[in-house]
Symmetry: D2
Subunit: 465 residues, 4 copies
């Protein structure tokens, strides 16, 4: 149970006409400092821009403006070196910064909130934060992409099955499979980018102000393209955050799939990969265990990100236009998603940096004669002889049945069996029935041939440096 905190109505800048202390339950549920204090750089940057504008427009004196800016820089320094001391009465990061500023510079601190409301202040802070979070995620995704590329370079030529429905389908090279993740992450990143466009600052509580502020100046100082065109919209919507979170969710889902592959690959049954000791875990009871906890958590933690996105939408759903306290939940959603993705990227990079692949096990899975991974090659061979695809598909289906019944691989069947399946078969067909041949022949753009993979790799190396 949290200790009951007392809060004096007297002197509390928000409780103007109230004469009674706030109920501790309200203090507790309302206080967001522990959540939003991570936005201190954005909050102070926003306040500095605002203070400069107040001076520039003559709403406060140049001297007062300068004192505010200097004071805010001092507050920022305190946050940066860890010496900032929050008080229990600091409801949120915004009140904490202003409270400290007033302690440092005296009465001019009380001028900072002129022509501003927490509504536009928080909307501005969040967009600034969003841009910075998106950039940080992007850099870390690129780290994961580089880790994948390093593996492509090292082991990219290993032949293994690719799977559909978890059934072995056709031979590919490992590099092709790893590059698929690089590409998926790239597309996901496109959704996760955030450019500062419309600056909410100056929307005040939602109806602007009659004081002669200069919204273009603050927008420009903070790196936005322009002021937001409607003050009500500016404080009401959190769909910007949702847009970025949907990108984060896409990244998380892709990482969850990588996690699923790592779990499979490191199982005894697949045996394609082995994680290093440093990224493996043991069991509290079974001394032999070598678990891929990190990979499992990639699957599970992704639910935090998709869940946060859902929550962000739901919090807004059904709210009338205007600012509502419900929107306070936007930040818990954003930060939970951000932290989960960062954590996931960190563990993914660690695992990708300490994994070895077992070329022999992979090849054995491809060459298992009863896997029939080359059936499509036989069908395509028939197509090249002019046989309609569906006919070829059916013929090879029959061939596989025959081979299965005999417990043999396709390549082990005598030509007469081939002939019985389709009269167009001749000796030549055996030439395409090899894993390496099959892989090499798939020279199609985007395909899994070693040459194609090399081209993809080169392109990515250039891109990611």
């Amino acid at each position: 149970m949290a200790a009951r905190r007392k809060r004096k109505a007297k002197g509390d800048p928000l409780r103007g006409r109230f004469t009674v202390e706030q109920h501790p339950a309200l203090v507790r549920i309302n206080r967001s400092y522990d959540v939003d204090c991570r936005m201190w750089p954005q909050d102070i940057a926003g306040s500095i821009a605002h203070a400069m504008m107040l001076g520039d427009t003559g709403i406060v004196t140049k001297a007062a403006s300068k004192r505010m800016v200097k004071g805010l820089q001092k507050v920022a320094a305190e946050f940066a070196d860890g010496s900032f001391e929050p008080r229990e009465s600091d409801e949120d990061i915004h009140m904490a910064v202003e409270r400290r500023l007033t302690e440092l510079i005296g009465p001019d601190g009380a001028r900072l909130h002129t022509a501003r409301s927490r509504n536009d202040q928080v909307a501005t802070d969040v967009r600034l934060y969003l841009a910075s979070a998106a950039e940080s995620i992007e850099l870390n995704v690129q780290q994961a992409q580089r880790a994948l590329l390093a593996l492509v370079e090292r082991d990219g030529a290993f032949v293994l099955p690719f799977y559909t429905h978890l059934q072995r389908a056709q031979p590919v090279v490992l590099g092709h499979g790893l590059l698929a993740y690089v590409e998926m992450l790239e597309r996901d990143l496109q959704s996760a980018r955030y450019e500062l466009d419309e600056c909410p600052l100056g929307a005040c509580a939602g109806a602007g102000t009659s004081l002669p502020i200069d919204r273009r100046m603050t927008a420009k100082l903070l790196g936005f393209k322009r002021p937001s065109p409607n003050s009500l919209e500016a404080v009401s919507s959190r769909n910007d955050i949702a847009r970025v979170l949907s990108g984060f969710a896409a990244i998380a889902v892709t990482l969850s799939r990588l996690g699923a592959d790592l779990v499979l690959w490191t199982s005894s049954e697949f045996g394609f990969a082995r994680l290093g000791d440093g990224v493996s875990t043991g069991s509290s009871i079974m001394p032999q265990k070598r678990n891929a906890d990190g990979a499992e958590l990639l699957r599970a933690k992704a639910t935090r990100v998709t869940g946060a996105l859902g929550r962000l939408f739901e919090v807004q759903r059904g709210l009338p236009m205007g600012y509502f306290k419900d929107l306070q939940e936007d930040k818990t959603a954003l930060f939970e998603a951000e932290d989960a993705v960062e954590e996931m990227l960190e563990i993914a990079c660690a695992m990708l940096g300490d994994i070895s692949f077992d070329a022999a096990r992979m090849r054995a899975a491809v060459e298992d004669p009863t896997g029939y991974l080359l059936a499509t090659e036989a069908a395509d061979w028939l197509v090249r002889q002019g046989v309609p695809f569906r006919e070829a598909h059916e013929a090879v289906g029959a061939l596989v049945s025959a081979a299965e019944a005999a417990g043999l691989g396709l390549e082990e069947l005598p030509l007469e069996v081939f002939r019985r399946a389709h009269r167009k078969f001749d000796e030549d067909v055996y030439k395409v029935l090899s894993a390496d041949g099959a892989v090499r022949s798939r020279r199609v753009l985007g395909g899994p041939s070693p040459a194609g993979v090399k081209r993809q790799l080169a392109r990515w190396r250039k891109k990611l440096g």
Copy 2:
């Protein structure tokens, strides 16, 4: 209970080596024709491009290619005029089209699926569909925006309170509030747009093909910028759909908020608006009722869209790389979201097209002397006299307390009471204490002044024609 459908293994193009009929439960759960048949235009367009390419590259003869194209056009015509007859054995739209094609043109139909799999086919269909759905939603959002603009033109100058926390905050004009929705929808639309960039066709099951297809040609024919660079990625990820659905979800959430406003505005307590009889509903028991069912459903139906997005992410989460049948659920999610948003836009336009506003009720809400909507004006007046904002805020807080205790409006208080709250007050303050004055004075960019609203309206009229 659905009637048990029989399915002959014999002649079924997918059941190659199976000798037993499919279990009716599998037939039932697997069959997606009723869901995906709406993609017939995309499926046939994709097949036509594929058939042209097969002829162009010599994989089939020019004559066969032409027959396929002509046949496909005939199938399209059947869909268009409603004469296409699906069979119970048509598992999905892809098999239905190919089945019908083969009926129409004979053996060449069996060549269509050469160098193609349903995996790349469906990925291509879905992206084509996505682009078309996004465009359709965009047009309908613009209809809703136009409906809002028409109201701004007609009644945009009415003065009403804007609300934060559902408490009256400050006076604005109605046009400002309606334009906020126009802006929100515009930002939402940015997330909902979809441009065809990477074409999956040619990825086949995920490992490409050894046949000499030309992926650049099909990509170009279908309006994509280029072939997708990795065949595995091309068939594995549905995050493209998620990106668009997150835009749809944003639109739906914005419409749900408009719905919430309509429910409030048409309540007796607010009394700001009245929906026409054509968009009002009665009660099965209370003869006097005039309900805004449509507005309520805007709130509730939005959960379908946010839910579909969540489901789309979850279906993919934890899947290894490759194609899995799980991904079949992508389309139910996409279509459910699309239908819900279309339905919501339709009813929103209907309501916005048949609503009247009660200027007197709105103004009364602003001018209610005990609402103190002009308190901020008084505080800003003090700020303009050089009083620090926090000091002004506290002084006006005390003033409101005094007025409340006396049951008077601020403007009804004698000057001496103002003076007691802050010694800087003088007669001039009464000039800013009027709703119209307050609105007019908020000339700030993006603010609610009539002049500002006119500028916003002009910009939008130009944009939306």
Copy 3:
């Protein structure tokens, strides 16, 4: 685009004082007949009980009451034999039944809705439906449990690894693993049961009625324990549905896990099981494929059920007390969840009824010397000699390392290596190092020993007949 439907205001029982036709968009979004018509048995049962009560209390004449009951029975017969013809103007099942009743019996039909509102009517219908849906799901879950028991009987003694983290952990018998699903489903069922307790009928729109109805009578006639104690609550909450849906979600999640096991077991890498041809699917391109689509859909369709539950909660969240049209979405959620679970149970039963297990592959996975599944046996052996568990755990960890380095199984290591790991080891330890011995020795209650499994099976056979 749906055809625009015309609706005459004239004669529409709900549009009392409205003089204008309803806008087609409103007709479309408001009409729920296609969704709720499946509740016809419940709706008619409720109406019959209501009509009987109206007669019994003298609110209508006995004769009128009898005519209504007879007429309603006729309507029910029409639904049952498929001859009922809905009209476009039937907004929902309730209006459709009353409309048809009035056609059949004339003016007395117009007396049915006396002292009733659609609000209490639909709340009653839904609870009756819920009870019936829960019962149907229960019967089908029991079918799935029986299918599992049949497999336990047939192949329950096969030895295979159980897995934690998808790493082979210890040997168990297959029966143990299958019975785990039987138990999980049983616990899930506990959440999915629904008993009729409080009957909403008589709550009317939410404020009861001044007519002298007998709520105890209708409650009893319909099988409820008592009338609901508060008329407002009775029409406002849908949390009853949520309770049952959370049980359905639990069942769906358990089935999704069974699906995941089936996908793994039928992979080439595991090779533990093979689905019959009738429940396997082929590929449109790869002739050799034998996919477990049904098992994959068990995973994916579960998202519909969890999603429906989430949607049901969200639709209610933030609604004030009272009936709102938002609640119309309760039924789409309920029916979607119900249908998905029914479909999942059907396919699960089909697959469990046509699966064979490969005892040799399972045993090989257990006995793979480098799997070290018996490491815990060695540790427990040490514990039995008085060695503290952590010390034993560490010693066997070292032993596994030594064995791994040598490429040998534990049982292949010479005693001196054991001794080096821990001096308490002696010859006896080799006796516990066998899979069969390990399984047999786990006689603990609930454990995987063949004897324990037999006991569990017997208990279940008795329970499920």
Copy 4:
């Protein structure tokens, strides 16, 4: 960025055969101590029961058992008085307790984990915790119910409209509306209860143990009814938590609706209620504001609970049988939901304890002549004269139209207008056209008559003491 923590492989009880330090990213993502330390009472209780059983069965000596029990009690005392010092190397609460125990009692501490795994340990801890959390929530829900009952006692007789579709429907008394919440919470509680039935302890990693443990003893000592019947099920499923969370979600959704009512009631437009200063908040810019932040957060925080439930299901969905690290996310979901509901109940009680109602505003809303809340009374009056309900409904609809056109209330219309609407009307009808009369006449069981509300209140007072 969290400081990189070093972790020695040496001496770490879980890293048996690993020779390399764990990667800091793995340490970080894997460590759950900060989350699960709140389960210390349950973890230690479970360990004490286990230690007693180990002694009782002779698996360890009686003396060792006693030392363990004493040591564990000492650890518990340290947690209770806040002196327990976790180490960075304590991965979770389980390892922390065992580590400390071993420090306190030496080598016997290493015997505690005999015949136990963290898998069954955590499953047991969570069920114990669940029972305790459910009980705590129940007590707090009862507090909220009592707060509602106190308001019913004080102001329950005030007359106000009840709403459907947010349109005034019929007059009720406030007590009826507040009791509806009492009833809804009661039904929700039914889903949120958790009784300890099957004890997982002894399932070990999932395959039981060969050591002669006594599961019945530990189950009984911990308050369970019996040991769980299948060791694999015992460690695999988290649907028990989901069951309780669905109850928590129901409570949260009901509270969110109360929040919505409070927001409406305290708006200027409704004006039905006023929250005390202690539970109201001000604005950073508008000195007059009196916001119901707590009520808004009731709406928004409910998304945490519904979200946690969704996440709990999703984390399990698609996992094969057995324990997976994914399940670690169960506790974050449980604790997040529990904390949110506790916080919501606390603020709800605070607001209900400091609210005043405005009887005059409520009555004015009922008696507003143009609200036509008594239309149903007029219709029911006709029904009592033998007019079929639909005919009466239509007649009164016409009457409302006429009254609306004339700007009059129903009761203000002359009898001839009534007669024109329906010839059966006579002077008597005016008697039912009063709010108080209407409310009093609704004597139906569960209805809003003052007498009925008194009976409900008495029943609840007896129940809740």
